[in-house]
């Protein structure tokens, strides 16, 4: 059979596909927990929301996995699971997939609701923490059962829980009342030295567990260099007060990004000492989540409160909207 021009086209296309497939295997996966799109109404016909994901080579194409319309606030991949164990923290509970997103199960019952964040223990495949407006809950049996672990918290409203990747059994949580630390896997909590309430997020330095950053509702960005005992407000270059997201570059931790209510996106290159706004290309200014690609420090993702995900390929120098359109992105998670 002669090789026609059409045959050549398909051979080339298959070659490109197989090559891109190979590159997909080597590149990060970006997960986005989408709470809603504009005009969400409970009970109405709403556009697809929930867990979306994409690969950088996929350009702006988002795939969807898991249930739709669950008010997905958080997402995570259990470290070491090869992306087989996925979690969605959602309005109707903690969803888990053990087969890479092929099937899902709501693992919590009626007594756990409005799950705002999820953090699997990097050292224990069966241990997961979730933060809710009703406190912190923990499973130690792979989500078969859940137990409330709020002892010591001054307020139950927990917007973020974070299991430290660096210290065993160390967990942080951001609450209405302040920032808390647990050193016994959430059995007990102690308020850290941060004097202000309304703590919205906490991030830990990827290499030095003593360095912490916090975003607050009304008091800007704080940092600690002694594991949360003392905190310093970082004001240089910061013109705003409400920060929902603070993140470190995993490969160059002196580089940080922060965003919040009508803040645009701030960047620091001196470990949070000073900040500069990097808003070129942004059509919205309220951001809820930020993440730096562990494989490429120049590639940064920002989840807008309404406006989908933005990506920068030059360390925040310029941003491009990626969709999903008009969506409220609560959490971004990048699996390297």
């Amino acid at each position: 059979m002669p090789c026609t021009r059409q045959h050549l086209f398909w051979i080339t296309a298959l070659l490109i596909c197989s090559l891109s497939g190979a590159s997909v295997a080597q590149e990060s996966t970006v997960y986005a927990a989408v709470v809603a799109t504009k005009l969400f109404v409970v009970g109405a016909a709403n556009p697809q929301t929930g867990l979306h994901y994409q690969h950088p080579s996929g350009d702006t194409v988002w795939q969807h996995t898991g249930p739709n319309n669950i008010r997905a606030f958080g997402c995570a991949v259990h470290p070491g699971s090869q992306q087989r164990v996925l979690y969605i923290a959602a309005g109707n509970g903690l969803h888990k997939s053990s087969d890479g997103g092929a099937t899902w199960k709501v693992t919590t019952g009626w007594n756990i609701t409005e799950v705002l964040s999820v953090s699997p223990d990097p050292r224990d495949p069966l241990r997961v923490y979730i933060g809710t407006p009703y406190g912190v809950f923990r499973t130690t049996d792979g989500c078969a059962t859940w137990k409330e672990c709020s002892q010591g918290l001054g307020a139950r409203f927990v917007s973020l829980v974070l299991a430290s990747p660096l210290n065993d059994r160390e967990v942080y949580c951001a609450t209405e009342d302040g920032a808390y630390i647990s050193k016994d896997g959430a059995d007990t909590w102690t308020r850290m030295g941060l004097s202000v309430g309304g703590v919205r997020t906490i991030a830990q330095h990827p290499r030095n567990p003593q360095i912490l950053a916090a975003g607050t509702e009304d008091h800007g960005i704080y940092m600690s260099t002694n594991g949360g005992r003392w905190w310093t407000r970082r004001e240089a270059g910061v013109d705003h007060l409400t920060f929902y997201a603070v993140t470190f570059d995993p490969n160059a931790p002196d580089v940080m990004y922060a965003g919040g209510y009508v803040t645009g996106i701030y960047k620091s290159t001196d470990a949070g000492q000073s900040w500069k706004r990097m808003n070129k290309g942004l059509n919205v200014l309220t951001f809820h989540t930020l993440a730096v690609d562990p494989r490429n420090s120049q590639r940064v993702y920002a989840g807008a409160y309404w406006g989908g995900v933005y990506r920068s390929e030059n360390g925040g120098g310029e941003w491009t909207p990626l969709g999903p359109p008009d969506s409220q992105v609560w959490t971004l998670f990048i699996h390297p």
């Binding site: 109404v41 009970g43 669950i70 709501v106 409005e114 809710t132 929902y244 209510y261």
Partner: protein
């Protein structure tokens, strides 16, 4: 007997006869007629609506067509828990009649479509009731056959556990989404379905008992199709056109009161035949109950309809879950309602008890449809209020809420509670005080006055005297204000989930808004009927001389007033209430307290009494004794 006394006797007899309870046999006969009337609006429809499908199955009316409509409707499931209950309702009415193919389509929908559980008490009542019934219908299936990945057994147990928990909470510290004219249907439908279709006899019994409970809770504060008093949630048009609310359809079905749904545009045609093709005056909400074999006990009907003797009724409910800005998850709500044959006046204690749609107090009366109410409020909104109850981010919350509830940040809105508002009610006298913080979004208070009142006199004494048929309302503003002509949303304007909401479409209806811009403010409300006080002129003359003494300085707002009933009421904002020299302790309020319903806090019991009859509900033992 003089001619005059004879006329009075005839009038009185006629009036009593109008409200006198009918025999239970008559009641059941009339109930069936009303249920049939409602069903007739649906069972010939060819729309792929779950209600029409359910009605066809129940009426055995062209089952192949019902099957076909059901399969069409299930091509694109949507609506979450609002999808779940009509689907299971239609299925349960038709499962023994429908084709195996249709049964399979219904089953498959519960595998492939994932309804959201929602975030309110009514959402959960619908979600878990329906999930319970569905799990009973399809037992023994693995998680892969269900939308949430849980097995039939897991779903059944979770739903059962929640429903029992919810019943326990409701019967110990009160409902959170309490006394809602617009959300009553969600609870009634859920309990109706449970009472009829649960296979577990105990759960079926719980459904029956809760249905009685909710109907009694409504019935005791019901007048002529209207819910009375303060409410946790109500949508805007229904707040000033009370018969527009969903509960009124249920009042028609169960109590035979009110009429078919009236709108602000006037009553709809009386009979189904006279209606334009395809238009039903009935919301689908009342269809499933009208198909049900549930019937309220005689005592509930009597409590709801016998208005021969005025009475005072008190209740205790609970605040919706407080997740921020508070240490108590469910603080108490205290409600007092005074009910007469002509009017009812009721109030909550004030403050923020529910987000967005709270209705703190109102007078509602039988005359002057559709605008049968007078009420007031401080139109308040804030991210603080929303943040108390919703987990989303505080600062964008107002915009997020406004996207679906457009009235929320409208300074002219007619619903919502305020932290700067408190009430003190003593039977048919009500004091309301405001101490509004400067810089609050709205620095005014509003009062609603129907344009079709028989009288609205602005008296030189300071009182505003109103007459609505044989009900007289006196309103004494503690500060000066202005009268604004009110415009109303058309009753038919509905948002995407069918709720009337859209304020952008306004039309003049000649109602009146009394607005006062003073931050330290308040008013005194007196309500009497002709039966209670005589002529309107007498009401005016005796009230004219009763001038409240008020102190209106920031942080020190109080009023001292001696009512028409000669009760001395001293009220200081926020919570000092003194009646005839004795401090009023609201915290002593029982779950239900009055001539008809009584329940102790924490008891899980409810006692209904009417004349010599008594019926005791014990939710702990799931028993009813007479």
């Amino acid at each position: 007997m003089t001619v005059r006394s004879l006329i009075i006797a005839v009038l009185l007899f006629g009036g009593l006869a109008a409200t006198r309870a009918q025999s239970h046999a008559d009641y059941l006969k009339h109930y069936s007629e009303r249920a049939r009337h409602i069903r007739s609006a649906f069972d010939t429809s060819t729309a792929a609506s779950y209600y029409a499908i359910a009605a066809r199955y129940a009426s055995n009316n062209n089952i192949p067509l019902a099957d076909s409509l059901f399969r069409v409707a299930l091509r694109e499931p949507r609506g979450d828990m609002f999808w779940m209950f009509p689907v299971i309702g239609a299925y349960l009415h038709g499962k023994d009649k429908m084709s195996p193919e249709t049964r399979a389509v219904v089953r498959n929908a519960w595998k492939t479509y994932a309804p959201y559980r929602g975030d309110t008490e009514n959402h959960w009542a619908m979600y878990y009731t329906t999930l319970y019934l569905a799990a009973e219908q399809w037992p023994g299936l693995p998680g892969s056959e269900w939308f949430n990945g849980k097995s039939s057994q897991e779903n059944l147990e979770e739903a059962r556990e929640y429903l029992i928990h919810w019943i326990r909470i409701t019967t110990t510290i009160g409902q959170g989404e309490f006394d809602s004219p617009d959300y009553f249907p969600e609870y009634a439908i859920s309990m109706c379905l449970l009472s009829e279709f649960a296979q577990d006899p105990l759960m079926r019994k719980r459904g029956q008992m809760m249905m009685d409970y909710f109907l009694a809770d409504f019935g005791v504060e019901h007048l002529n199709g209207q819910y009375l008093g303060g409410f946790s949630r109500i949508y805007q048009p229904a707040v000033f056109t009370p018969l527009l609310s969903g509960a009124s359809g249920f009042a028609y079905l169960y109590f035979g009161t009110g009429t078919e749904a009236e709108t602000s545009a006037g009553p709809l045609p009386e009979t189904p035949k006279a209606r334009p093709p395809g238009e039903s005056p009935w919301s689908g909400w009342v269809l499933l109950p009208s198909l049900s074999n549930y019937r309220p006990p005689e005592i509930v009907y009597n409590i709801a309809t016998d208005r021969t003797t005025p009475y005072l009724h008190k209740e205790r409910k609970r605040v919706r879950n407080v997740i921020r800005f508070g240490t108590e998850k469910n603080p108490p709500v205290y409600k007092e309602t005074y009910v007469t044959p002509e009017y009812g006046i009721g109030s909550l204690q004030g403050g923020l008890l529910q987000p967005i749609q709270q209705h703190t107090w109102s007078v509602r009366f039988t005359s002057g449809r559709p605008y049968t109410t007078i009420f007031g409020l401080h139109p308040y909104w804030s991210s603080y209020e929303l943040g108390m109850f919703f987990p989303e981010e505080l600062k964008p919350l107002i915009a997020d809420v406004v996207a679906s509830k457009g009235t929320y940040n409208n300074p002219d809105k007619w619903t919502g509670g305020s932290p700067y508002e408190r009430t003190f009610q003593n039977r048919n006298t009500l004091l309301v005080l405001y101490d509004i913080e400067p810089g609050t979004m709205t620095e005014h208070i509003d009062g609603f006055f129907p344009g079709n009142l028989n009288e609205r006199l602005i008296d030189s004494s300071g009182w505003i005297f109103c007459k609505a048929g044989s009900t007289y309302i006196g309103w004494y503003p503690l500060q000066e204000g202005e009268w604004l002509e009110e415009r109303e949303t058309p009753g038919q304007a509905k948002n995407v989930i069918g709720r009337p909401e859209n304020l952008s479409q306004k039309q003049p209806v000649r109602n009146w808004r009394f607005r006062s811009h003073k931050l330290q403010n308040g008013y005194v409300i007196e309500v009497r009927s002709e039966r209670e006080i005589g002529s309107f002129q007498k009401f005016v003359s005796v009230l004219r001389t009763r001038i409240p003494k008020a102190i209106l300085t920031p942080g020190k707002v109080s009023v001292d007033y001696t009512s028409l009933s000669k009760d001395r009421m001293k009220f200081a904002f926020p919570d000092s209430r003194i009646l005839n020299g004795k401090a009023v302790d609201l915290s002593a309020t029982k779950l239900f307290e009055g001539p008809f319903l009584n329940a102790e806090v924490g008891s899980e019991k409810l006692t209904m009494t009417y004349k010599g009859a008594k019926r005791v509900y014990d939710f702990r033992t799931v028993t009813v004794t007479e």
